[in-house]
């Protein structure tokens, strides 16, 4: 933990691996939020439609 982080240096892109990993995790989380069903939501809507 006391060592400096490693860096990805690709052309003009320079970013530490931990930062790149975090951004990757955020993108994955964002994608999951779009596709995963929200609990209890579908049944409530169906009930409203029937009412």
């Amino acid at each position: 933990m006391d060592q400096p982080a490693g860096y990805l240096h690709w052309g003009f892109i320079l970013i530490s691996w931990p930062n790149l990993l975090l951004i990757g995790l955020m993108v994955v989380l964002f994608g999951l939020a779009l596709i995963l069903p929200f609990p209890g939501h579908g049944s409530s809507t169906e009930e409203e439609k029937r009412a």
């Binding site: 989380l29 999951l32 779009l34 939501h41 049944s43 409530s44």
Partner: protein, 217 residues
């Protein structure tokens, strides 16, 4: 009788403010138990998680401020609260950015919601300054290193005369008082704006939803 009282107070600022609040912020908007069905998505959870993280940031920050630097660096409980403060800030920023992505891609400034969006933008900017002053207020070598590296950049912007990163008292005062008050006030306004205007509908959807989602279920 009630309307007579209102007529008598027609020129009163207090009465005018009360009428404005009653008209623009009715209780059913402030504390709704039903939401449009599109709110039932994980994307809408990002903002709530950001607020929850902010609550932990403030609570842990109050404890740190009460006990001081020696406690948060040297005692095990102090180091725990120091870490709690640091990691809740990380969660705060991660979910604020996820919230920003979600609102950006659904163009949440539509249909009179520009103030909500702009308050969010300003809150984000102030949060960055608050986090920066937090790094400067750590009272360790990292804080000194960051301050020494930052001073030239800050001086380069021309605000060094008002914002001296080498002045611990100024940075600490900003970090524990002025900036948190600004963030909490802006977040409050942000939520009130959302309650006033309602949650933005998906692009191309009818403004008034035919089907609502009962939050009590």
């Amino acid at each position: 009788m009630k309307s007579d009282v209102r007529d008598e107070s027609a020129g009163s600022w207090t009465a005018a403010t009360r009428r404005q609040l009653e008209r623009r912020l009715p209780w059913e908007n402030l504390l709704p138990d039903r939401q449009p069905f599109w709110v039932g998505s994980w994307v809408y959870v990002f903002g709530v998680v950001t607020i929850a993280a902010l609550a932990w940031v403030v609570l842990s920050g109050v404890v740190l401020a009460a006990f001081g630097p020696q406690w948060w660096h040297l005692s095990s409980v102090g180091r725990f609260f120091n870490s709690l403060h640091f990691w809740s800030v990380q969660v705060f920023f991660v979910f604020m950015v996820l919230h920003l992505w979600g609102q950006y891609f659904m163009a949440s400034w539509r249909e009179g919601r520009a103030p909500t969006w702009m308050i969010g933008v300003v809150t984000f900017a102030i949060s960055i300054v608050t986090a920066f002053t937090g790094y400067l207020a750590q009272q360790n070598f990292a804080a000194q290193w960051i301050a020494m590296n930052a001073k030239d950049a800050i001086n380069g912007t021309g605000v060094g005369g008002f914002f001296n990163v080498l002045n611990f008292g100024q940075m600490y005062g900003l970090h524990v008082m002025l900036l948190p008050i600004a963030i909490i006030a802006l977040v409050f306004l942000h939520i009130v704006q959302v309650r006033m205007k309602g949650v933005v509908p998906p692009i191309g959807h009818e403004p008034e939803p035919a089907v609502t989602w009962d939050l009590r279920k």
